[in-house]
């Protein structure tokens, strides 16, 4: 693919590496995932066709896997799925517009990860008492172990709580221990504990995603 002409699909941002860093041919279409440089940031990109990226399991999964690979070694600012820029120049223009916000976001999430906790009612317990009490038990205890927290939408009638927590990398074990204790306290409930994720719910930089679908 012609490097000058092709679009750039952006997976996430990391701190500048001082030089191009490659993560291997793990991008869309088997393209190389590598870093560009903008001031003290490095967008993680691959060459890509400018098109609307369909929301399918495989493609979202690929985006997710790339970001997870990157976050093994770096603090990341996640970028929404489907963000593709016509060329490198447009990407750098967008970065310059969002620079301040990115700087602030990075200071917030540096060395931290997102952990997700969902509390789910068992199948047969539609009218389970004490939902509120249970939710506040979970939130109170887990907030103490996290730098920040965010309650998310209850997308199912069986969900009592759906929340994400921003946790220091070196405090993940303590957080997990707390989740386990809460699980023991409520043995009837199903607990879905997931992560570590890139901090999707704690970074919201509009400059890169003002338009639906992320076309530029």
């Amino acid at each position: 693919m012609n490097e000058q002409e092709s679009g750039r699909y952006v997976y996430c941002m990391i701190k500048s590496q001082g030089e191009k860093k490659s993560f291997g041919n793990i991008g869309f279409g088997g393209e190389e995932v590598y870093t560009l440089e903008y001031k003290d940031f490095a967008p993680v990109v691959s060459s890509a066709v400018v098109k609307k990226y369909e929301v399918s399991d495989e493609e979202v999964e690929l985006h997710r896997k790339v970001v997870e690979q990157v976050m093994k070694e770096h603090s990341v600012l996640p970028v929404a799925y489907g963000m593709v820029f016509k060329n490198k120049k447009l990407l750098l223009v967008a970065m310059s517009a969002g620079y301040k916000a990115m700087k602030k976001a990075m200071s917030e999430v540096d060395n931290r990860v997102e952990l997700g906790v969902k509390v789910f009612l068992p199948k047969e317990a539609a009218s389970w008492d004490g939902k509120e009490k249970c939710k506040s038990d979970f939130m109170e205890a887990l907030r103490k172990k996290a730098a920040r927290s965010k309650e998310l939408k209850l997308f199912s009638d069986r969900l009592i709580m759906n929340a994400s927590f921003l946790v220091d990398r070196n405090k993940i074990d303590g957080f997990s221990g707390e989740v386990e204790q809460l699980g023991n306290k409520y043995p009837d409930l199903k607990i879905h504990y997931s992560g570590p994720w890139p901090p999707y719910n704690f970074v919201d930089i509009q400059i890169l995603s003002r338009r639906k679908g992320g076309f530029r």
């Binding site: 789910f120 199948k123 997308f155």
Partner: protein, 95 residues
């Protein structure tokens, strides 16, 4: 061409029985469409389906079948939302 618009007549306090019924039926139809093709509701179902699978309540097979069906519905719903179903097309083509 002069087109009698029931909404316009409604505003000046005139209703024509036939049009009135059509208007009511359209409201019901639109409501049904919005319920059936509500992208937000379908997205919720997609997430719920995923969670049920991850919690081991449904098999991979069940998950995949339901997910494919929901994604199809979501596509239709988003297309429907873009088209704005509540706009009545004038059959004389002079809207």
């Amino acid at each position: 061409m002069f087109i009698i618009d029931d909404l316009l007549l409604r505003q000046v306090g005139v209703t024509i029985p036939g049009l009135n019924l059509i208007w009511t039926l359209e409201q019901i139809r639109d409501f049904a469409y919005r319920e059936l093709y509500n992208p937000e509701k379908i997205k919720n179902s997609i997430k719920e389906n995923r969670l049920l699978f991850e919690l081991g309540e449904i098999t991979m097979d069940e998950y995949e079948r339901t997910n494919a069906k929901l994604l199809q519905e979501l596509k239709l719903a988003e297309r429907g939302a873009e088209m704005n179903l509540s706009v009545r097309t004038d059959i004389m083509g002079a809207r």
